[in-house]
Symmetry: D3
Subunit: 192 residues, 6 copies
């Protein structure tokens, strides 16, 4: 593939994000799971919707960070979390940065800078999108559970990641999601 020269190369290659399933769902048996493209749409939407309730965030840059955060997966696939664990520290991030730079080259330096800003997690906007990324995982998980998927408990394992969030709106949406999940669990079995 190498480094793209024309914006159309970038656009054509990114279409393939449709065919990269989110591995966390695949290995837990969700049929026809979310693709990376679908996840990215929902993340842009989520980050855009919640940023309005969080003072001091640059909402436009939040959208851009969300839009670009997973583009490298078109060359990497969506590595399961277990995969990163076996790689040297930072190897995955460096690889994604290199791939993103080659993919996004024809769009000018701003695109690559945004990708790097997200990876560095040093700005409030980057941290906000990262928090939304984890939240989006649970929103989709809740939907799959409401459809009958049962192998997803593990994804709910660390609520403190949300409860300790620096962003109030992330804490609030998470609690509402958690509460609805509990309520469903306490209800008499809804299906015969």
């Amino acid at each position: 593939m190498g480094t793209h020269q024309h914006p159309l190369d970038t656009l054509l290659e990114l279409q393939v994000l449709d065919r990269i399933p989110r591995s966390g769902y695949s290995v837990r048996g969700v049929a026809d799971p979310e693709s990376v493209a679908e996840h990215s749409f929902h993340l842009v939407f989520l980050a855009w919707a919640l940023a309005a309730e969080e003072a001091g965030l640059d909402r436009a840059r939040v959208m851009e960070l969300a839009l670009l955060h997973d583009v490298a997966e078109v060359r990497f696939g969506d590595l399961p979390r277990s995969a990163a664990h076996y790689l040297p520290a930072g190897a995955k991030a460096r690889a994604e940065a290199a791939a993103a730079a080659e993919i996004l080259a024809p769009l000018g330096p701003r695109a690559t800078d945004l990708h790097a800003e997200y990876a560095a997690q040093a700005t409030p906007e980057a941290r906000f999108v990262a928090a939304c990324d984890k939240l989006q995982l649970l929103i989709k998980t809740r939907v799959y559970e409401s459809w009958g998927c049962t192998g997803l408990d593990e994804l709910w394992a660390r609520p403190e990641r949300f409860r300790d969030s620096e962003f109030g709106v992330v804490r609030r949406i998470f609690e509402e999601l958690w509460r609805r999940r509990q309520r469903a669990a306490d209800a008499p079995l809804p299906r015969p």
Copy 2:
């Protein structure tokens, strides 16, 4: 469904856009075609990438219009173009406006206003996103054709829609896409 009260209702319902295939591809035999969520991701990306080359557009609003343009399809499905033809003039647009208003209610009036701005097609940003929407259809189509799908000629039928575009970057990207498609057609058959 009715009118949502809580942002989480909106977020949960929109996940279902993953399960709504783009009908223009389904009825032409594309296997596992793009979902409305995937299309929306690619449209936001495309409009964001191209807006940088078009003077005088509010790039942030361009992204927002693209993000919201198809949310009503979660209640409507993705009607084939042939369907609109049989409905009274404006019926589809009015129905989508009503559905969008109910879906987006918990996000405040700005969300609904953006959906209406796109429908009205009166601002340059709205027209730009609409031009990108048509262009995205052909970019994905080109990808499907490169994979072996052959029933898609009809989608290329009206190049003048792009050649007469008010937006230079849309004209340029389209010509590059068209040129590559021709070049592939003129080449000796690539596959044995």
Copy 3:
């Protein structure tokens, strides 16, 4: 598409009903849900099987009405019930009538007349097929529930539509279906 001239045009176009999923199941998360073609097969079978137990129905015409009742969806898609709600009264029915007339033209006026008879719901045969259409939805739903799908409760919401049916056999089959669903719900959880 327009109005077909040759029966083969009709036959070829209708093959595409295989690629139109029944939206009521798609948006509720059923994996690989019934297509409109599959639904139509089961409706013809159901209406044929039950008509034998209902005095005074023209069984051959019952089959024909069932066979044709959804052909317009090849141009319309399978609109979710929520969609019709946003359209002007009668708009969906008029659109389907126009589409059906164009699709069925090469088969002679009888085909279009049968489609219109179903839409008008004025003959006992037409009403019988409509009752079976709703019943078929629940039979398939029951099958999906037995496979582990859980988001389908809403589809069972109005049992009185069946209990008040003018057709005894529809009432009887529905009660048996309802009873089996209850029995399954009361049983200890069948799956570890």
Copy 4:
């Protein structure tokens, strides 16, 4: 499974025909191929549409024969043609008759008689449906070819089965289908 006692048993079991792909397409690489339920719908439609042009056929019985012709596949799967070749003469037909009798039992003897009438191929209606069954295979094949599938030549190998048909309408529709396929083959490559 055994012999059913209640019509609802029959109806519930037949829903599973949705999950039985037509093996002739599967083994030739068609993605998401026609199910037996979809094939059966198209056969009922085809036989009904063409019977109107063939004097002396009982159109209602034609529909019934088509409706029932493949019900045994819910217990047998859709054996590839190559499979029958390895079984003792008549074994497949006898097995299907036994399975159909058990499945259809609650619908009364007429249903089983119709299945047997089709298997015996002694009446004009049974032979007409059998001819339509082969024709439907090629109509769907033509659709798949127009979508880009290329492994299906073998299915067109014996045109004389249609050209020698006792039914004029089968001969005519086949010739039109064959002519269109030739015309497409002679055209310059439609896709770049």
Copy 5:
């Protein structure tokens, strides 16, 4: 198809085992169920892994028997268990033997002999692979159940087939599997 002459014919034809779903899961509603190729991989692995714990088995031959045991299904499909019941005694086995001989011909007589050895079930290795074949069905079933599939109880109906096995390791692995399934069933509902 007939009898192959070149090893590449065998290799190419067997790729199609990817497109033959295991019918026992299809008819019970598992979405995207195991293919015969996948089952065969897991059987080779299982038989290889367990053979190490069973004295006196030729482990290499165990692998070969497992590798070849289902190759005939590429011409036969994966007949549901209910299908064999309707065929004359031995007809399915004879058909598979004939098909396997034609498919495997270019690989020399040893391949066909191994297929025959498995069918005859006269050697400990052949019986061991057959026991593993049944065990693999339940291992996959347990995985599907953990994902939310609920229509699979029937597959657990005859534990004595494992408890009475002549192979200790089969008995032990089955008991562990059974125990885990019970434990999951006794637990409070894991999913809200």
Copy 6:
């Protein structure tokens, strides 16, 4: 996940290889592409079949190496070739070794040793399986091309990898495959 303690843990986890598509095909648009489990089955078969024609290979160990060569992908996914390019030299191999050791632990040291032997590529058997791994990719590719997939040319780019193979049977099978592909390319277009 961590290190497994019981053989059943290993067996259950490996079932998930069914849900990991081979990324080289996914990103090139093959619908419903081969899973890692399917690939592994075909590799064991291929290596077993060809090893018989290559003097001096331990055929049983060839099968074992093929059986185990991709087990780590259940935790890693099937990284596209482009991914490895961005990682530090050896990082992928070390990660897979660590993952394989944890997955295979309950099967004793021999299993882990076999995985390491394949990775080291120092024995003829390990090199033979690696050559077959590449060959299997092209055999499946040829099948997909015969079905109509067209985006796969790149996979044929380096015939010298086969022509310079140390294994005569690999060279011979490759040449036959190449020859058939050429013959198909030279033929008049087979499909209308």
